[in-house]
Symmetry: C2
Subunit: 139 residues, 2 copies
DNA sequence: GTTGACCTTCCAGCGAATGGAACCCTTATC
DNA sequence: GATAAGGGTTCCATTCGCTGGAAGGTCAAC
């Protein structure tokens, strides 16, 4: 199979597939004309990568996961550890964003959003000495 | 003030402050010896930037916000629009992460995490035809 | 005069692709 | 046989927001 077909089947852009070959995640064969020639197993691997990336695993995680997948003697504990660490990362990210969201939506609500220049958002960012600072302290 | 003092006061690393000068967010003066010489207003601007970045605003947002802050004829609507767009970005990101989290924690829970090789996490990533796929479909 | 803590510039790298240029291969059509 | 469309190839640059490090200049204290 050529790269275009594989792109269609795996849902990954051809560019990304080439990149994945570059960094050693897949190793397609080559046809006589120099075109990459993908086996069924390559397509399967790429789809695996697509799903792992969609779950937010890093490329290095993906590399480990593929290795574990290939190793039928693996311990599921190893896989689970990678997934749990990733889950932690996600939780930390969500917590961070949720905090941002709270502060920001607070400020947005307080802003009239009209033609006048007075703006609690700017006042907060500038840490001006007014009620906005109190609002921040109250968070 | 030299960059080290400003770093301490603003909470930003010196490297970051130099970078912000590079991209035109601050324009400190220069002393005779070539050292950057920061005014009080520069420090204020940098602290503003630090807070805006902590809320997740992009550098380009920050540039706009600084411009609006400097413009006493601004309409608060302009500030609010930037903040609301950012809030949307945050909401979309949170939604994305929350979905990842749900799927992933599902899989983690289903994985024994012991010495045996059987692993629903890998099975799902590989889209193997078993109960895991059903679990995914049920999400 | 020498140490050590500052400061300077410039270049490279992170993650994970993505865009584009310049060029080759294949197939169909005129 | 020429040509055009639609594949494919490589390589280099760019994104975002810094961060690290090398190589060197400056300054105050001892």
């Amino acid at each position: 199979m050529n790269i275009g077909d594989v792109a269609d089947m795996s849902g990954l852009p051809a560019k990304t597939i080439r990149y994945y070959e570059d960094i050693g995640l897949v190793e397609p064969l080559r046809s006589a004309n120099g075109y990459r020639s993908f086996r069924q197993s390559d397509v399967h691997k790429l789809a695996f990568l697509g799903r792992a990336r969609a779950l937010g695993f890093t490329i290095e995680d993906c590399r480990s996961l593929l290795k574990l997948y290939a190793d039928t003697d693996r311990a599921s504990a190893e896989v689970k550890q990678i997934a749990e660490e990733h889950l932690d990362r996600i939780d930390r990210k969500i917590a961070e964003l949720t905090e941002m969201r709270a502060t920001l939506s607070h400020l947005v609500d307080a802003c009239a959003g009209d033609h006048r220049p007075d703006c609690p958002i700017l006042a907060d960012l500038a840490m001006e000495e007014d009620k906005t600072r109190t609002a921040r302290a109250a968070d």
